[in-house]
Symmetry: C2
Subunit: 339 residues, 2 copies
DNA sequence: CACATTAACGCAATCGATTGCACAACATGA
DNA sequence: TCATGTTGTGCAATCGATTGCGTTAATGTG
């Protein structure tokens, strides 16, 4: 239990040098002679000195840390975004603290509070599925740090955001199904409180319209798009009769639906073609391999991170809304036999 | 850019009450009258006060935060462990900061340093595949906080750890293959610097021995067990001829191997039976569904977390090595037609 | 050689919250 | 009435690092 708390004052005493000089030396200040710097550095390692960031951050009023709030770590998409965020952040000398909201507004609030009281320099957030209002975020912004939204933006004035072209991607996916002969396409959609899922639904609807197909609210199943939801939706699909296409707003639900349907003797894609969203690694494992939409997750993380850091460093006031483009990845779950 | 920095002194002035009283009131100290507490609380919310944890932590010399180092967030196993850790930690009033080493020793060292200088109260770590020595961890321990290992323990005196019965699980898996008629079983093994993978290999070897099969070093392929490694190993397997069973030390490699082998016209499990390790969700999606070993990931996180917190709180000195038991989950990748 | 610069370092206040100790006001018991 | 408690607050030091400003000593300039 050696509670060895070596401070700059210990070094200071050991060397008979004022602690302010020690501090400057450790920060490689140019106003300290090379010789003294070396003596100090040596003594520091000798004593096993470890800077106390708490004290430093308190004094300077900055932590060089950005907070990242993510709905779920277990989603491949988010862990990739995080990797992107970390890469950019580390290069710029920032630390990253990761928190998961588990799609709960209450937890999101607690996390924001904790980040605030720990004085992170900025926050990257993908809001939870329960988050309808952004008051708690307002509170954060008013108290200081900048916020950048990624993936799931918030209808929020005066904040940068990075997202993908959900509407267009969705439109393209639905159209692709139609061009492959589907006439009765069902949509698995996420919570409509999120703009993200509203846009995806809109894209689906407009593609139908463009091709003269009738939109029917009964063909839309809304859920959190978990594994169990996909199964549930698949059951509904079978009851509907005549469905020949499914466009799911994520891969998880698409895949569990495929599994269920296959068990029920449905042929994919002959009877029902399926498209997912995200391009999770798992989508190449399912049989038939899932046609889906690939998002530039890593890149999204990098961009979000650099937008935030720019704001922190330069106190920039202009806000950007970056929209990245995704890509339809065609696999076997939509390949109709050519007639 | 309202840099509203409301401190206890602002409240103190606004109310004509000493800041020490304010501090005590905000901490709900019993030595402050209910009336004053209320006045202070009201004023605090009115001014939008947000405690500065940096100052508080500096003074009290504790952060109520535990650091978690994880090799990769993208592995389902680890994100589940994290959820377990968080649950227990939050209940006990601790914050959690998550860092990923990406299997790099260098990053691991940097992370340790950062956690140290941020004065986390304790660390939970699953060491990287490159970590052969634990000197950097020693440094941490000497400077204060307790460490608990999870999943991948380190040959390290005086630290608690939580892991699973790798040897037994491995033995059972291999034996299961043998009992299903396999006579020429290959092992995909992880970096032997990790005790974890050494144990899994040992279990494999001993099961062979028990059943009179000859162990052959050429039947062991060592790698990081990534997707590409699985494919590479599968190619080797085909060159070997006569292989009728694969026991992979993780699911990722097992699954990519299965995909490759199927493409090459190999029948699973008729020609080659396969067992993985981890029970990733993906193992129910691959066809045939993968027989694998399920680990109590969430539970592991909870236990690791509570072991650490006990050490932090009670300054316990005894160290525990908890070994959780895993379970063989039989699916289709090993079901031989009954003769 | 006198004076102006510059380089190198020390002094002391500061960041915001916590806490041991002192102290005042009031109540209680003998 | 006086000694002794009890409650509720205030005072001031403290955690460890940073930094504006002042002070030397060394160096340069004319």
């Amino acid at each position: 239990m050696k509670k060895s708390k070596v401070t700059i004052h210990d070094i200071s005493k050991a060397l008979g040098i004022n602690s302010s000089t020690v501090s400057r030396a450790l920060n490689d200040s140019s106003s300290i002679s090379t010789k003294t710097k070396q003596r100090i550095l040596e003594k520091a390692t000798e004593l096993g000195y470890q800077r106390n960031s708490l004290a430093s951050n308190l004094r300077t009023n900055k932590t060089n840390t950005i907070g990242v709030i993510v709905p779920r770590l277990s989603r491949n998409f988010f862990s990739s975004v995080i990797s992107g965020i970390e890469e950019t952040a580390y290069e710029a000398g920032y630390n990253v603290v990761i928190c998961q909201s588990l799609e709960s507004l209450q937890r999101e609030k607690k996390i924001i509070n904790s980040l605030l009281s720990n004085r992170v320099d900025g926050v990257l957030i993908s809001i939870s599925m329960e988050t309808t209002s952004c008051e708690h975020l307002m509170a954060y912004k008013n108290h200081g740090g900048p916020i950048v939204f990624y993936d799931r933006p918030c209808d929020f004035e005066d904040c940068s955001s990075v997202s993908i072209n959900d509407y267009e991607a969705s439109f393209e996916a639905t159209e692709y199904l139609i061009l492959n002969g589907c006439k009765n396409i069902v949509h698995f959609s996420g919570p409509q409180v999120l703009a993200l899922y509203r846009n995806r639904k809109k894209g689906y609807m407009d593609a139908l319209k463009k091709h003269g197909l009738i939109f029917n609210e009964a063909n839309c199943f809304e859920s959190m798009l978990l594994k169990k939801d996909g199964i549930e939706h698949a059951k509904q699909v079978l009851k509907l009769k005549g469905v020949d296409g499914i466009y799911s707003a994520n891969d998880t639900a698409a895949i569990s639906a495929i599994q269920y349907l296959k068990n029920q003797g449905v042929n994919i894609p002959e009877d029902i073609a399926v498209i997912g969203f995200n391009d999770d690694p798992i989508s190449t494992v399912i049989e038939p391999a899932l046609t889906t939409i690939n998002q530039p997750d890593f890149k999204m993380g990098k961009i979000a991170s650099s937008l935030l850091i720019d704001q922190i460093k330069d106190h920039k006031t202009e806000r950007d809304s970056v929209v990245l483009s995704s890509e339809l990845v065609v696999r076997d779950s939509t390949k109709k036999a050519t007639r």
